[in-house]
């Protein structure tokens, strides 16, 4: 064990004296983290808000909705006088989106039940074409603000019954509905009446399936505030730190080839050390370097940018597993070629696609579903997922075991494969 440690210390020394590796392991991930973090909105301890301009054309008839929208997490609203003004703001990039509240908007929110299919929309959303990613999110937030209003009213039986009565009346007058549609909506209104009545009953007070809270959650569970990154750096740091692991793996893989070519590996083999010692020493050095680099990067993120540490124990576990995984991959990289250039080039060719689908470039959180499925084949994904699990996904230990065990499986498999190939090559 002492011999392995001696070897590892030597390799770590060589590693920290190699400026180029340090660049890939520390500077490059840091720049990525800062760049992506700033690009997706920056930090300040709070997620950057989407700037939205609102045009209220009801003449003051949407105060409830506007109030809820203003307090919605994640967006910052101001108002414009006319639709044209708002459009110009978005067009010029001053605002990300506009929300138009049309004159026939019903602040109570119940009109949606009585709406006929061909009725015009009462709220319109216009998003900067270059920011399509935000469209879905804004729609969600607007819907949330709408439904929250609905929920408020439902907890107030008198108001509720007034509303349902109003809806029933309009249903009766609606001409574009089929009888079946009308029937089902009428019975829904009856059911709602019953619900709000039973809520008034102290005996069943605890049963409140339609409280405001429940209502909001059912609409938008993905935005549970406790489960989202507090700052964009919470997202950008884990995805950038994997590049640090990758840099370590490449550095130690090329170091191995350098030793093989320079003859120092042969020199080690004529010492009392065995091949196992030498490989274990390399592995240990790569593992420690990965841990150290990720620790430094996260530490910097936490101190300077307020990146959340989340659950420290789980975070350490995730870093250990990720570092082990990339140590295994290092072993495979080291046998890709016979020269340093071949190994460095081959490693990037092998790892680049994995990094791209695995969230090293596009954050997992912003991936379309098909890419998210593909990402399951990338070690980058599991390394990031593990870190995110500790930082902001609030993983339990059991949830954490999944990414951890995948990482460890890759670690063992890749290390074994690398050793096997190098053994076959020079017995």
């Amino acid at each position: 064990m002492r011999a392995i440690w001696t070897l590892a210390v030597k390799d770590l020394r060589l590693f920290v004296r190699d400026r180029l590796s340090l660049f890939w392991v520390l500077a490059f991930p840091l720049v990525l983290a800062l760049f992506f973090g700033a690009m997706f909105g920056g930090g300040d301890g709070e997620r950057a808000k989407m700037k939205v301009v609102v045009v209220d054309q009801t003449g003051g008839g949407a105060t409830g909705f506007l109030g809820r929208l203003a307090t919605t997490d994640g967006i910052e609203i101001d108002t414009a006088k006319s639709l044209d003004d708002a459009r110009n703001l978005v067009r010029r990039g001053k605002r990300v989106a506009l929300v138009e509240i049309r004159p026939d908007f019903d602040d109570g929110g119940f009109s949606m039940f009585g709406r006929s299919d061909d009725a015009a929309a009462t709220i319109a959303i216009g998003v900067d074409p270059s920011r399509t990613a935000e469209r879905g999110m804004l729609q969600g937030l607007v819907t949330q603000a709408l439904f929250a209003g609905l929920g408020e009213q439902m907890t107030n039986p008198a108001q509720m019954q007034a509303q349902t009565k109003q809806v029933r009346d309009s249903l009766a007058q609606a001409t574009t509905m089929t009888a079946a549609q009308r029937d089902s909506l009428t019975s829904l209104m009856n059911a709602l009446d019953g619900l709000s009545l039973s809520q008034g009953d102290p005996g069943t007070a605890s049963v409140s399936p339609m409280s405001t809270e429940g209502m909001v959650e059912s609409v938008d569970i993905a935005h549970d505030p406790s489960r989202k990154p507090r700052s964009s750096y919470d997202v950008s740091f884990p995805s950038s730190i994997v590049w640090g692991f990758m840099g370590c793996a490449t550095a130690f893989a090329t170091n191995m080839v350098r030793e093989r070519r320079a003859g120092t590996l042969l020199r080690l083999r004529v010492s009392p050390l065995t091949r196992a010692h030498v490989l274990a020493g390399k592995g240990l050095a790569c593992f420690v370097a990965g841990l150290g680099a990720s620790g430094l990067l996260l530490g910097f993120g936490a101190l300077a940018l307020g990146v959340r540490i989340g659950d420290p124990v789980l975070l350490i576990m995730s870093l250990l597993a990720a570092s082990a995984c990339f140590t295994g991959l290092m072993m495979v990289m080291s046998v890709i070629g016979k020269t340093e250039a071949a190994v460095a080039g081959g490693s990037w060719i092998m790892m680049m696609p994995l990094a791209m689908i695995g969230g090293g470039m596009i954050p997992l959180i912003a991936m379309p579903p098909w890419l998210l499925t593909a990402s399951n084949f990338s070690p980058f994904k599991w390394a990031i997922y593990g870190m995110e699990g500790a930082i902001w996904r609030d993983f339990s230990l059991a949830e954490m075991l999944w990414p951890l065990s995948i990482l460890l499986m890759i670690a063992v498999g890749a290390f074994g494969l690398g050793v096997w190939i190098s053994r076959r090559r020079d017995p």
Partner: protein, 296 residues
């Protein structure tokens, strides 16, 4: 102490080492002399366990094989291709190689200091090896091989690319080790080195061991007689009165005893422009054995 028995190593069609056998006694200094590509390094790699022979075997201390880690602990190797870490300082290199042979603590510290003196690098102990000259690196390479006080020290061409001063330093260091009882195996293609450092020399070429013995024995056996070569100012009227053979103005005399021959020449009264006595040496031995010179 160290025995090579019928060692064979093949690379494809090429037989790099072809049935080489010799025995090195404890405390002896033994040289492998041969031109480039003779198979010296390949032989050495098999002796120290870096390369598995295709045939034959290596026995160390009677019955041990260099494939065992414990056996390798007693051997120090200074490979022909420098095996030091450029990014580490002289001190760190020595300490690293000391550690992997099990040294630690005070013992390690004294051996590192010894190594720095040995390599003449005490002044530059903290400088990285990459800042050293070729000769300094060679010396460090050798010091790293000897830092753990091995019973057998194997030096593969420790003087290539080294200036005469550094070379002298290396010779003295190696001689000092030999004086302390270290068994020495030395390869070179410089016959002067073999003659100076090695009690016994094996001459190898094309993977084969051509001759083995003390330097004197080899010269006596294969070196032929000394030659006196004189360039005469004018050819005498009766050349047959002269010893040896005359070719133009140059007279060549093969003789066991050069001095009386020179005196005899002096007595003839012929003016001699230039006189050379060519004593047999390992170079001549090699020429004799292979028909080629060691270096061409």
């Amino acid at each position: 102490m160290l025995e090579a028995r019928n060692l064979v190593k093949r690379y494809g069609d090429l037989t790099a080492v072809d049935g080489v056998s010799f025995t090195i006694e404890r405390g002896e200094s033994f040289g492998l002399l041969g031109p480039n590509g003779a198979g010296k390094s390949t032989t050495i790699h098999m002796l120290v366990g870096a390369l598995a022979p295709d045939g034959g075997q290596v026995l160390i201390d009677g019955d041990q094989s260099p494939s065992q880690a414990a056996t390798r602990r007693n051997i120090g190797v200074a490979p022909q291709d420098l095996a030091i870490y450029e990014e580490l300082s002289a001190e760190e290199n020595l300490a690293f190689f000391g550690r992997i042979y099990g040294l630690s603590g005070k013992k390690l510290a004294t051996r590192v200091d010894w190594g720095l003196e040995f390599a003449g690098l005490a002044q530059r102990r903290r400088d990285r090896a990459e800042t050293f000259s070729g000769g300094m690196k060679r010396r460090l390479n050798l010091a790293c091989a000897a830092v753990h006080e091995p019973k057998i020290l194997v030096c593969d061409e420790p003087t290539v690319g080294v200036d005469p001063q550094s070379r002298n330093h290396i010779f003295e260091s190696i001689e000092a080790l030999g004086a302390q009882g270290c068994t020495l195996l030395y390869t070179t293609h410089y016959m002067e080195e073999a003659a100076r450092l090695c009690a016994r020399v094996a001459i190898v070429d094309h993977g084969k061991l051509l001759a083995l013995g003390t330097v004197d024995d080899l010269i006596a056996e294969h070196g032929g007689t000394p030659i006196v070569e004189a360039e005469l100012a004018c050819v005498p009227p009766d050349p047959t009165a002269l010893p040896g053979t005359l070719e133009g103005h140059t007279l060549r005399v093969e003789t066991e005893d050069p001095l009386p021959t020179v005196e005899q020449l002096g007595r003839t009264g012929i003016e001699i422009r230039r006189l050379r006595i060519d004593r047999p040496d390992l170079e001549r031995v090699f020429l004799q054995l292979t028909g080629r010179r060691l270096r061409d």
